[in-house]
């Protein structure tokens, strides 16, 4: 999907001036490649280099891409990739944001929580909100579920005992094609109060 910048082979370069130009370009590229960003994902700090090599963060990478492809956290889903479905919702400093509409390079110093970060890392025990989704069978195919749970998590963080209307408003940015929505609202209401 990502197009890489093609590097002109040395043989194509003329002798003399051009070689000098090329060296300068390389130096400039090198200088930029030392730029680093630091992300805290689910409590773990990730120091990443900015650049166009495969192990680096390209300025054009979205947070969803970095989470899934660079860090291997595939719990965050990408569906529409245009900010219209809510599948890629993650928490940034406690607030729900769309990771497909966020550039990773602009997340330097941010604290990100994904669906993988909700369960207890020691015991593996699910977050009360996750358990409520299981108890209320609040999904069918489950593709929208990580986004739903992260939006609900943000809502409960801000408003621990929301009304049904507030739950619907809080989840209005998350779409479900299996119409699990009714069960989701029940699950979130059940988890409220219990879930911190």
């Amino acid at each position: 999907m990502e197009k890489r910048k093609s590097v002109r082979p040395v043989a194509f370069l003329k002798k003399g001036e051009d070689t000098v130009v090329r060296t300068q370009k390389l130096t400039r590229k090198k200088a930029r490649a030392t730029e680093r960003i630091s992300l805290t994902v689910n409590g773990k700090i990730h120091e990443m280099e900015v650049g166009t090599a495969s192990h680096q963060i390209d300025p054009a990478h979205t947070l969803a891409h970095t989470l899934r492809e660079t860090l291997g956290l595939t719990g965050t889903k990408v569906s529409c990739d245009h900010g219209a479905c809510g599948s890629c919702t993650v928490l940034m400093d406690g607030k729900a944001v769309l990771s497909c509409m966020t550039l990773t390079i602009e997340c330097d110093g941010k604290r990100i929580t994904t669906i993988e970060g909700l369960s207890d890392p020691e015991t593996g025990e699910l977050d009360p909100l996750q358990q409520a989704f299981v108890d209320h069978t609040a999904f069918q195919c489950g593709f929208c579920t990580p986004g739903m749970i992260m939006s609900a998590k943000a809502l409960l963080g801000e408003n621990p005992s929301p009304t049904e209307e507030e739950v619907k408003e809080g989840l209005s940015g998350n779409f479900c094609r299996c119409i699990s929505n009714y069960h989701v609202v029940k699950a979130v209401l059940a988890a409220s109060g219990k879930g911190r």
Binding site: E2, G83, M101, E106, G173, N174
Partner: protein, 323 residues
């Protein structure tokens, strides 16, 4: 997305200087909720070489009130505006308009400056490269507006020429009814533009290398009733088919001041000045509201498929007046 270089601007002056240096090859990014769509669809005439991040500029996200003016920094997030007690108590119509934008996640990222400067939603203009685009049109500088002969159900019904797309911003409609001013900074210094003058058929009023700095809203009388109504096809994450904002003051049933703005009907928010004049000094009832609504839409010239928007607009104006 195709690659680009990325620069974090530290000050507004630095951002202006960078825009000048890149001569149209750089774009500004605040919340990113509109820009990233443009970059992914690659429908702009020229893919930017550089993205300049504005979020790295500190102190531009304030919402404050002093000297009878509400001041909102261009980087204030829509969610901050919705939550601000200052806005929801004195400038309710703006809080309601901001709350009607997209979804909670988008409001947590999108800024007021970006909401005003967002690109149009025309489906010809935004047709993505990877499925056969980009489509050339009047707004991109070549050819006619394809909506005129094509599917124009969500396009303009008044004040358009060359490009028939409507202004998609909800906050612009509320700010127009509040007589707000957009303050911009550029290489030639600062200037203020009335919100209604900020939008035009082919582009907004920003000159090259100018950036929106803040929005100033004059105080509204405490007795005024402020209303924002938005008609959409689906409730959340949708742009207005038609929206109406109003600020109406009544004393013992008689209207002493009326301000009405229509949204998503033209390249910018439209003040219904004649309807406003009509209401002043009159007792507001059903019939009066219907006449004012008729007057507000008197200048409408619909395209082939959007005459229905006139009826929706009239109904919303009537409801707003009677609220």
């Amino acid at each position: 997305m195709r690659s680009f270089t990325h620069i974090n601007a530290r000050t507004l002056d630095e951002a202006i200087e960078l825009l000048r240096k890149y001569r149209g090859r750089a774009v500004l990014n605040a919340g990113g909720t509109d820009l990233l769509s443009a970059l992914k669809g690659e429908y702009l005439s020229r893919y930017p070489e550089t993205v300049i991040n504005l979020k790295s500029i500190s102190g531009l996200d304030y919402v404050s009130e002093d000297g009878g003016l509400l001041r909102i920094g261009a980087l204030a997030k829509l969610s901050d505006i919705v939550r601000s007690p200052l806005v929801s108590s004195g400038y309710r119509v703006l809080a309601e308009a901001a709350r009607s934008v997209a979804s909670p996640q988008i409001r947590n990222a999108a800024t007021i400056g970006g909401n005003l400067c967002q690109d149009i939603r025309c489906w010809y203009y935004r047709y993505p490269r990877h499925i056969g685009g980009p489509v050339q049109c009047a707004r991109k500088g070549s050819g006619p507006c394809l909506a005129v002969r094509g599917d124009n159900r969500y396009h303009a019904i008044m004040n358009s020429r060359k490009c028939f797309a409507v202004c998609p911003s909800d906050t612009a409609v509320a700010l127009a009814v509040l007589d707000a001013q957009v303050h911009v900074s550029g290489p030639e210094g600062d200037r203020a533009i009335a919100v209604t003058d900020f939008f035009g058929p082919l582009a907004n009023a920003l000159r090259s290398n100018e950036i929106v700095r803040k929005i100033e809203v004059p105080k509204v009388s405490v007795s005024a009733v402020q209303t924002f109504l938005k008609f959409t096809v689906r409730e959340p994450i949708d742009f207005a088919v038609v929206s109406v904002a109003s600020v109406i003051t009544r004393e013992e049933g008689v209207c002493t001041d009326a301000r009405i703005a229509l949204g998503a009907v033209a390249p910018g928010p439209v003040r219904a000045s004649k309807a406003e004049e009509m209401l002043k000094g009159e007792r507001i009832d059903e019939e009066m509201a219907a006449q004012a609504a008729e007057q507000a839409l008197a200048g409408a010239r619909p395209l082939s498929k959007n005459a229905y928007k006139i009826e929706i607009a009239k109904t919303l104006v009537k409801r707003a007046i009677l609220r």
